[in-house]
Amino acid sequence: MSVRNAILGLLAHRPRHGYELHDAFEAMVGGEQNWDIKPAQVYSTLNRLEQSGLVVEDGVAQDGGPEKRIYMVTDAGLAELRQWFNEPSLSDRRRDEFFLKLMLSLVVADGDPRRLIYTQRAGLYRELHALTAQRSQVNPASQLAYILLLDQAIMHLEADLRWLEMVEARLDEISRQPIPEPAERPRGRPPMDGNR
């Protein structure tokens, strides 16, 4: 969904052909190491947008090589983009893979929740180290957008690490609490009312 809307937005900025869209997207997010999209994904998204009437072809570019179809956004596309701008972007952090691992490591016979926490912590620190190194290479005078993007990732990692610290501190407590079992559901037909 976000790639589709980003393509709409880039076309609302100015008409472009598929490959330009791909490069513009990568430039915006600071390179493929941050968000890798394939040209094929851009072309298939463009096809769907065109079928939905959100973009139309706006001529053909030919600079020696094969023809490149240039796209522009339609009024319907602009309306869709506005709607996207008007909605908050929510992250669903409750669907967390590590949380599942942790809960199951507490009940599986050879699970080692403390080791699990340390492995996770090491992974997060490696990521934080790489992002910190990446951020130190960025020029604040010309690449403020990347700095903001990297800072967001860094701050989320810091929060994850703080949370892990809390989990480790409370691990003994959690270990004494079995993971919740689903509420029992009555089987078969609901019981008849006794008076009837």
């Binding site: 340390y118 912590r121 090491a122 620190y125 990692l157």
Partner: protein
Amino acid sequence: MSIVKTEQLTKVYGQGATAVTALNRINMTIQPGEFVAVMGPSGCGKSTLLHLVGGLDQPTSGQVLLDDRSLSGLKDDDLTTLRRRQIGFVFQFFNLIPVLTAVENTALPLILDGMKQADAHNQAEVWLTRMGLGDRLSHRPDELSGGQQQRVAIARALVAEPTLLLADEPTGNLDSRAADEIAALLRQISHEWHRTVLMVTHDPRIAAHANRIVFLKDGTIVDDTRLSDDGQYEERVVREKMAVMA
């Protein structure tokens, strides 16, 4: 060859029923050029570890080896000399002398070691300039920002050309921007000037500048994580350089 090695390093404070084991048989090896962060909850023994490695405190048992030489066998005078020449210290509260200028503060260890004032000042200026303080040489601590004061403290720690820099919460008294700059500087000190840096911190963002993190809990090492291979690369470069010089 390791620059720091601890063998069964143990520190117990107090005696009998009230004895508290701050460090319990720590075995740790640090190679030249590594930038190592020590992390852990408060009271886990991280500052004690730093103090023992720096010879500021004596272990209850076990030993610290610097450049394969045990600190335990050294006489007080030898230990003081070794601390002054081989180890640089950086603390949370800078510990600069308020009435002295940046150059005078930085040159102090050299003058205490018997160097002539003019030479000591020249060397101090070199390190202050490397720390980005070339235009602050005659400023006194109260005329400098927190980040700048810590840079003076780092210059002072490095002026005697030690191989090992020990930093105890070096960013603990700084705002986050200055803290990031100091952490990046420590990284540079390890990468470009090939000093070994051992830093205690509780701040994940600062620790992430290091190449390796040692996690302590209740006086023992519970995890030892390598964040990247740069440290090992640097170590190889240093080894090759030393081989050329030999």
